[in-house]
């Protein structure tokens, strides 16, 4: 495909008969031979291997770790200073209006911070970091691939190659040796399952992927199942569920803003959009991200408007939706006026000109199985 980048696993995807599609400037596998449903269910029952090398890995360092942590706190409402060595935390880049520029992972590796950002926003994130992190060096790690291994059999499959991963807990991060290669492993992911994300030099990525796929428990998983897995897990997709028009409080991501950065905290505010975000933390936002369970069997997808029963004034919109294979039913998420965001509220979604009943539901749709 013209003008698209390829990940270090491109040839392997093709050999595995993946259907390749353009995604965020990359040629990526959307599914393999068995299809999205099977890949989804296999990940929940065993283990799935995902190529997420399109995501941006960025190293941030300064004269001291603390200096880098303090600098990054100017761009995110996260307590970066509060991330212990060997741990990672979910974060958000906010803008002056309190909107979300991107979501990311921030790992404290002792000497530096390792950030993982979305593929579609990588260039703007790197420019944003380079322009605003005073006294820091910001290094995009273009020669490392990123693999995710997700599902209940992940620990056994990865520990067979790298025994040290078994001791890690959810959101731990660690540098571990595999056949003389340094892997940067975190126990995290985007499926609601236990699992790992592994950064590896590009030249060795294929060898690691093949070693993992050699395990009977592991099959390759494409972007299709990645999306249905994260939807059931209630996780946001940047560009769909969150963007510059949504604030962290509207999106229900208050938990990503630690006490130290809130009103009365040791390092209150000091991030873009702080006044609006801190106000909303105290008084709430006019709308909330919630789950919607369609009463019928038709999936209700992004863009469907939400109404009160029998009313013509929209009160919300679906931002992600589809079929949830593990639930055996359609599931959606989106925004609705806060007064209507209570679990169990009966509303309607408009699909192809017809009204379909939906019920507001808690997220995630299915409980996560992290090893805490």
């Amino acid at each position: 495909m013209p003008n698209l980048s390829r990940t270090p696993l491109h040839d392997l995807h093709c050999e595995l008969d993946a259907r390749m599609v353009p995604f965020a400037g990359y040629e990526m596998p959307v599914q393999y031979y068995d299809g999205v449903l099977w890949e989804h269910l296999h990940t929940r029952s065993s283990a799935g291997l995902f190529d997420v090398s399109h995501m941006g890995q960025v190293r941030v360092c300064a004269d001291s770790l603390e200096e880098a942590q303090i600098a990054l706190e100017a761009l995110v409402p996260v307590s970066v200073l509060g991330i212990p060595e060997g741990r990672q935390r979910y974060g958000l880049f906010t803008d002056e209006a309190g909107g979300i520029l991107d979501d990311l992972m921030i790992a404290n590796r002792g000497d530096d911070l390792l950030l993982v950002v979305n593929a579609a926003t990588r260039a703007q994130d790197i420019a944003h970091l380079s322009a605003n992190l005073a006294g820091c060096s910001v290094t995009p790690l273009i020669d490392r691939a990123l693999l995710a291994l997700q599902g209940p059999a992940s620990e056994a499959a990865l520990a067979a190659l790298v025994p040290g991963v078994a001791e890690m807990r959810f959101m731990d991060t660690s540098a571990l040796d595999w056949n003389g290669v340094e892997l940067w492993v975190s126990r995290s992911g985007y499926t609601g399952e236990d699992g790992y994300e592994v950064s590896i030099p590009s030249s060795r990525a294929r060898a690691l992927a093949e070693a993992l796929l050699a395990s009977e428990a592991v099959i390759p998983i494409g972007l299709g199942a990645r999306d249905s897995l994260r939807l059931e897990a209630g996780l946001c997709l940047y560009g769909s569920d969150i963007d510059t028009s949504t604030t962290p409080v509207e999106a229900g991501l208050e938990w990503a803003i630690q006490k130290a950065r809130r009103r009365g905290g040791e390092r209150e505010g000091g991030f873009p959009g702080a006044s609006r975000i801190l106000d909303e933390l105290e008084s709430g936002a006019p709308r909330r991200r919630v789950g919607f369970l369609p009463d019928g069997r038709a999936p209700i997808r992004a863009g469907a408007r939400i109404f009160r029963e029998g009313s013509d004034d929209p009160v919300g919109e679906v931002t992600s939706g589809g079929f949830g294979p593990s639930l055996g039913r359609p599931v959606s998420m989106g925004y609705v006026e806060t007064g209507l965001s209570g679990t169990g509220t009966a509303l309607e979604a408009e699909v192809r000109g017809k009204r379909m009943p939906v019920t507001v539901a808690d997220l995630p749709f299915r409980p996560s199985t992290f090893k805490r």
Partner: protein, 119 residues
């Protein structure tokens, strides 16, 4: 069996035309999770969207390939949408139509012509 450029098949059954989608189309759609069918008795014109197929990935419309009346729909697809992947040329037919003018079928492709098109 006749084929359309939109990957539908049409099979004449007495004075009715049975309509479904090809194996190639079903494979491209991926796992089908929901099928919305018209009501029996609906009068349709060529090009009207009569069926919505939702796969795990996306929604697709099926347009009426001919003018006529929908006289029967395949209710089995409501409970078992996966039939579209398992048996697209057989038990996963969508609708049976009464076609006013049978010469409407003359312009469609033969199996060989369809195979050439998707090759």
């Amino acid at each position: 069996m006749k084929y359309t450029e939109e990957h539908e098949w049409l099979r004449v059954d007495g004075d009715l035309v049975v309509i479904g989608i090809t194996e190639h189309a079903a494979e491209q759609l991926g796992d089908v999770v929901f099928v919305e069918l018209p009501e029996a008795g609906t009068q349709v014109s060529t090009g009207d969207d009569i069926v919505v197929i939702e796969s795990v990935k996306a929604a697709s419309d099926i347009a009426a390939p001919v003018d006529g009346e929908v006289v029967e729909v395949n209710d089995a697809l409501a409970d078992t949408p996966g039939l579209v992947n398992a048996d697209p040329l057989g038990s996963a037919w969508f609708v049976k139509m009464k076609v006013g003018d049978p010469s409407q079928l003359d312009g469609f492709m033969s199996e060989d012509e369809y195979r050439d098109m998707i090759a």
